[in-house]
């Protein structure tokens, strides 16, 4: 930490943190309010993994190139590694841990079941991001064909190369849910 003088211009604004302070924020993580304090340089990904212990969301490249950190932020899929947590105070965040439903939370999301049924992974590292991304894709309603699924899933890399089966799994769920969305 250096000793640069904080710009006086920042004084007086409400949501302000200097390099020595943290800001209070509340995120709604998988349906539960999560009040906390964060330093401004903490990414949403690091907050999810290191503080909320939601380690299903993976850190792959940490530069928005691989999609392993994909979560749903206010319902939209984003790369959580490129989001400063302090900047999304009040947001709803859904991670892979929050996709399952049912009274006991053990009823798999149809995408989770389809990934297993279609053998849509090998090592599994990209899978939580793939599934969250597919959830976002279906909600967006822009993909109908397999080619559109491939193009609109292009933000999720799979180093094992399971793309064929991933597309099968997503198409399976899209065809069942797409008509009703």
């Amino acid at each position: 930490m250096d000793d640069t003088v904080h710009p006086a211009t920042l004084a007086g604004t409400r949501e302000t943190a200097t390099r020595d302070t943290t800001l209070p924020i509340t995120l709604h993580l998988n349906g539960s309010a999560h009040p906390t304090r964060v330093a401004p340089w903490v990414t949403l990904l690091d907050l999810l993994r290191e503080e909320a212990h939601l380690t299903g969301t993976k850190k792959g490249c940490d530069h928005g190139q691989c999609g392993a950190c994909t979560v749903l932020l206010d319902g939209k899929r984003v790369n959580s590694c490129l989001v400063l947590a302090v900047s999304v105070d009040g947001a709803k965040v859904q991670t892979i841990e929050g996709l399952a439903g049912g009274a006991d939370g053990c009823e798999l999301d149809p995408l989770q079941q389809a990934f297993m049924d279609h053998d849509a992974f090998q090592c599994g590292y990209c899978t939580p991001g793939q599934i969250c991304s597919a959830r976002g894709l279906i909600a967006e309603g822009k993909a109908r064909t397999r080619e559109e699924v491939r193009e609109l899933m292009s933000g999720n890399l799979c180093r094992c190369g399971a793309y064929t089966n991933i597309a099968d799994a997503v198409m399976h769920v899209l065809q069942r849910e797409g008509a009703s969305s």
Binding site: P7, T9, T13, P40, W41, V78, L82, L84
Partner: protein, 338 residues
């Protein structure tokens, strides 16, 4: 990432005041700035969060144009029915870029102000006049596959990476800016600049100036257009060469207006009015398109790895002009080039 001060701005004037401080950076979607901060390319003293400013709307303009808010996301812009129907060239270019996750977060203002993806700009172990003025250029004599063939200087051969901006150049959009001296508008052709001997500056914004919106003229060229993007993989990669064409064809089949903007080849979207003028009054033909392509690429210089881009650009221009004349724009789903 370095430690920095953080503040949320509540109106444009406050943002401009905070953003005028030395070392301040505006944060919108963050998809480029946060990445650059992780690389220590950007080391802001303060980050001014502008996400809550009222610049997210897309609104009709008197006279038939459309105003794209600087804080509207790329996805919301591309999928807006008015953009998709009246400015399909812009929608196509946006959807050719980045990934769905990035487009959900990245904003229109941020797209204009994103930095080059030159490897040497990103690698703080190498020289870069854009990152550190006076340190030299690692790309000259280095790996140059993604570098400029037009308008470069001996100080910098970086390219502007945007797809959206190539379409905005062809559409002749206007950039709206708020700054310490009030509001002003900048014609799109004057927004980005060539590197010259001052490559640290990507655009003509003054310190503290904030992009608030992008105005599209009424004419959207919705019938004869295309965005043809060629890259090293089919999706989610920056352009080696891209071509935006906006054209009007008369009842007699002759070209009335032709706009051609190139991406991936220069420090800004590349247009040559003389090349476009050559097409006016011509019947669409391979010969006419080849002539315009030659003029567009006049003065192109390859530097090792990127020499292929001159011929690639020539062919892409001819193909894109043909696609626009035929009314068969390039699909951003099926990447086969017809």
């Amino acid at each position: 990432m370095n430690r920095f001060d953080y503040a949320q701005a509540h109106d444009g004037a406050e943002a401009v005041r905070l953003g005028s401080a030395t070392g301040a950076r505006f944060l919108a979607g963050g998809t480029n700035l946060v990445d650059l901060m992780k690389e220590n390319v950007e080391r802001p003293v303060s980050v001014i969060d502008i996400q809550r400013l009222p610049f997210a709307a897309i609104a009709e303009l008197d006279g038939g144009g459309l105003r794209l808010g600087a804080l509207a996301t790329n996805a919301d812009t591309a999928y807006d029915p008015r953009v998709a129907e009246r400015y399909p060239l812009l929608a196509s270019a946006i959807l050719a870029g980045a990934s769905p996750q990035l487009r959900n977060r990245a904003t229109n203002g941020g797209n204009l102000n994103q930095r080059t993806r030159c490897y040497y700009f990103y690698d703080t172990a190498t020289a870069c006049n854009k990152r550190e003025p006076g340190s030299g250029c690692g790309a000259l004599g280095g790996v140059t596959r993604i570098h400029a063939i037009l308008g470069a200087s001996e100080q910098c051969i970086a390219t502007h990476p945007s797809d959206m901006c190539v379409a905005l150049a062809a559409l002749e959009a206007t950039v709206r800016v708020e700054g310490p001296d009030g509001e002003r508008t900048i014609p799109f052709a004057d927004y980005h600049r060539l590197p010259g001997d001052d490559p640290a500056r990507d655009n003509t914004l003054a310190p503290g100036e904030l992009v608030t919106g992008i105005d599209l003229p009424a004419e959207g060229f919705a019938t004869h257009f295309t965005y043809l993007k060629l890259r090293d993989r089919l999706s989610y990669a920056f352009a080696l060469v891209s071509v935006a064409v906006a054209m009007k064809v008369g009842a007699d089949g002759r070209i009335e207006t032709a706009r051609v903007a190139l991406g991936g080849v220069a420090h800004k979207p590349w247009r040559v009015p003389e090349a476009e003028a050559m097409l006016v009054g011509a019947m669409p033909s391979h010969e006419a398109f080849a002539g315009a392509a030659r003029r567009l690429l006049e003065g192109a210089v390859g530097r090792g790895d990127n020499e292929f881009k001159i011929e690639l650009a020539r062919r892409a221009i001819v193909r894109a002009l043909q696609q626009a004349a035929d009314g068969t724009p390039q699909s951003q789903i099926d990447k086969r080039v017809a």
